[in-house]
């Protein structure tokens, strides 16, 4: 009698554990929580691309609709950010933890949520699309052409030309800063847009024309300083460390741990910086390198961030490591 009652109690307990507990969890996840939340909550599983990447990898949201995205990493640590221009960076999300962000997109367009911590050989493929749709004009997303890349195309500049390697030239921006006052600097070299569309080597020719008596190595240093005039902010060096350093190395010497996995060796900036136009770098970052494994960042970075990154590459190139 007692045994039977005990058995029955054990059966009820077992049924609760096997059926009840999962039902409670699933019920909370898909029933209770969405019902209680005043806005949509989307759970996104984050795995290295070899294991499936983001799922779901497309999230649609309307302009002005508040949404919560919860990113759960299941294999290794990922870094979660959403761009361009949303300024969302959740930092590292470790396995077993959840990175959460709640926001209300205001601008219609296509955004990308992506991993910005090297997580596997295919790390850069770890991207998902956040579509922000205007309910009044669905499907009407304006595609804006990038003026800098358009200008390169109009001038038929070959973005994929092999970089010319500078030899026998050792530009140093801090030496250049010290001798800046001793040199006559023409206004064009003061103009950030002019500098973006001209290589330091071209700048040296212009500077030499105005300062025929100054030794060349002094002018080289001054050009190095002018081309890296913008001091890097913490945000930009962080952006570089997160997205570029894994292959290009934290000092931009092409020696990051991901360098062994790419089709072509990652560029070491000091080698090519002297003959490289900034707008070509800009285009390569935005569009990616053709056949080199350099991914495109145009769907992640704003135009301003990319320009600052180009300045940072100059800064790394012309600073002793």
């Amino acid at each position: 009698m007692t045994t039977t009652r005990g058995n029955r109690a054990a059966l009820v307990m077992l049924a609760f554990i096997v059926v009840g507990v999962p039902a409670l969890i699933i019920g909370y996840q898909y029933g209770l929580r969405p019902a209680l939340a005043d806005h949509r909550v989307v759970d996104i599983e984050a795995l290295a691309p070899e294991n499936g990447g983001f799922s779901p990898d497309v999230v649609r949201v309307e302009v002005g609709e508040t949404i919560t995205l919860r990113f759960a990493a299941d294999d290794v640590t990922h870094g979660i950010a959403i761009g361009p221009g949303l300024g969302i960076d959740l930092g590292h999300v470790d396995p077993g933890h959840v990175g959460e962000v709640t926001f209300t997109p205001q601008e219609p367009g296509t955004y990308t949520y992506y991993c910005n911590t090297w997580c596997s050989a295919d790390h850069w493929r770890m991207r998902g699309v956040l579509e922000v749709v205007d309910p009044n004009s669905p499907g009407g997303v304006n595609v804006q052409l990038d003026p800098i890349i358009e200008a390169l195309g109009a001038a038929s500049v070959d973005i994929d030309s092999e970089p010319e390697v500078a030899e026998g030239i050792f530009p140093d921006r801090s030496r250049g800063e010290r001798s800046l006052d001793t040199v006559e600097v023409p206004p064009s070299l003061r103009d950030p847009d002019w500098r973006l569309s001209h290589s330091p080597a071209e700048g040296l020719e212009v500077l030499q024309a105005d300062n025929p008596d100054t030794p060349e190595d002094v002018l080289v240093d001054v050009v190095a300083y002018l081309w890296s005039e913008t001091p890097p902010t913490d945000e930009i060096s962080e952006l570089f460390a997160r997205n570029c350093a894994a292959c290009h190395g934290e000092r931009g010497r092409g020696d990051g741990p991901g360098a062994a996995t790419t089709l072509e060796e990652p560029v070491a900036y000091p080698e090519v910086s002297w003959h490289r136009r900034g707008d070509i770098w800009y285009a390569k970052i935005m569009r990616g390198g053709m056949g080199t494994d350099m991914p495109n960042f145009g769907t992640l970075f704003t135009e301003e961030e990319t320009r600052l990154l180009v300045d940072y590459l100059r800064y790394l190139s012309f600073t002793e490591s």
Binding site: D75, V76, T77, P95, G96, T117, W118, E250, P257, G258
Partner: protein, 159 residues
């Protein structure tokens, strides 16, 4: 009459043997161990990858200054050093530098502190801070005890 008088508790006489034993024990516990040299500075690059540290074993002397440059070559890893309470995380492409003084002797494990995959729990290395004072003193103490027991047993072969 004399049998009724209580026998006073016998005090153990301090024999030469006991005195020597006491001196030996105190000596073993307190004598400074030779081999402490001027502290050196070690510059060590430790690379963390799935699922090992390279190098997986570090040997330093007590008092040495250890400057570590920690790198990761595949995914995010951590470096937790038992006994020293040191915990850092490192992501591929950036290096993490830290310095500590090896002021505790012994063998300490360092392990990955960020879940990095299936074999993450086995990602372990060890730091040996020598000479290992505790082990040496404990062995010497054990040797003294064994010696004293042997002597004691020989003095009284059987009851």
């Amino acid at each position: 009459m004399s049998q009724a008088a209580p026998v006073p508790a016998q005090r153990r006489p301090i024999t030469a043997g006991r005195a020597i034993l006491l001196v030996l024990i105190v000596g073993v516990l307190l004598v400074p161990i030779p081999g402490f040299r001027t502290p050196q500075t070690h510059n060590i690059v430790i690379d963390a990858s799935q699922f090992e540290f390279s190098p997986a074993r570090l040997t330093v002397n007590r008092g040495d200054i250890v400057q570590v440059t920690l790198t990761a070559s595949d995914v995010v890893h951590g470096f937790f050093l038992d006994g020293y309470g040191i915990d850092f995380r490192v992501e591929p492409g950036t290096s993490q530098e830290f310095t500590f003084t090896a002021d505790r002797s012994g063998k300490f494990r360092y392990r990955c502190s960020v879940a990095c995959g299936a074999l993450h729990p086995f990602m372990i290395g060890e730091l040996v801070v020598g000479p290992n004072e505790l082990v040496w003193r404990a062995s010497a103490l054990a040797a003294v005890a064994v010696g004293a027991m042997l002597l004691h047993a020989r003095k009284r072969p059987s009851a």
